[in-house]
Subunit: 111 residues, 2 copies
Amino acid sequence: MGKDLDGVLAALADPARRRVVDVLRVGPRRAGELAAAVAMSGPAMSRHLRVLRAGGLVEVVGTDGDARVRVYRLRAEPFVALRAWLDQVEAFWADQLGAFAEHVKETRHDG
Amino acid sequence: MGKDLDGVLAALADPARRRVVDVLRVGPRRAGELAAAVAMSGPAMSRHLRVLRAGGLVEVVGTDGDARVRVYRLRAEPFVALRAWLDQVEAFWADQLGAFAEHVKETRHDG
DNA sequence: GACATGATTAACGCAAGCGTTAATAGTTAC
DNA sequence: GTAACTATTAACGCTTGCGTTAATCATGTC
């Protein structure tokens, strides 16, 4: 069931990759731009992008006129899947307590 | 901002730990029960539980009459934080496309 | 107090992940 | 076609993470 989540969460586990997602949230970016944004060498970024691609979080949208450029864009599906799993988990409190929001508020004020 | 997410997603990245969460979704469980549920040795589970505790995903609720038993329970906060970040990310499609649900449907039917 | 039980920590071996530099492939420009 | 540019892959070193068995700590039982 939650087999896809393996690749998704593995990708999201790394701060650098999460930073890439945050950058792509603004809009599609070229590989070089991403490397610069995260202050990392090209090869390292390329590796991260491979992981993100494997998890389906990003995709190559094509070129920006130059074929040597690879523009990356966010993909929706994995985030939807993650949200679905999250909903399932959170159903726990809905079942146990009945008042999820209140519990959250109390928890936040505590910690 | 998303600094807490580091521990949360790191914890959720491992399938065994995600399985623990799925088990705890049913209700609080003792450390030994969790080890058995995931078919893993006690020490290994203890290690995983430490990671989950560090991420704030679980907490020790106390004893079940015996003080040598440690009962673990899910915590809401990290999942709420994760959902908040997820909402932020998904705002991307809301801004870009305007029709998030439709895009999701198409994406799902494709992959 | 001796002994069994539940859980964690310690020590070991192993595999996977990350980042860097060097090398390779594919494109564009002159 | 030679040179400059973008991105990826290859090779290396290092660190981190996971799982197991053995040992430790704490509690409960007789």
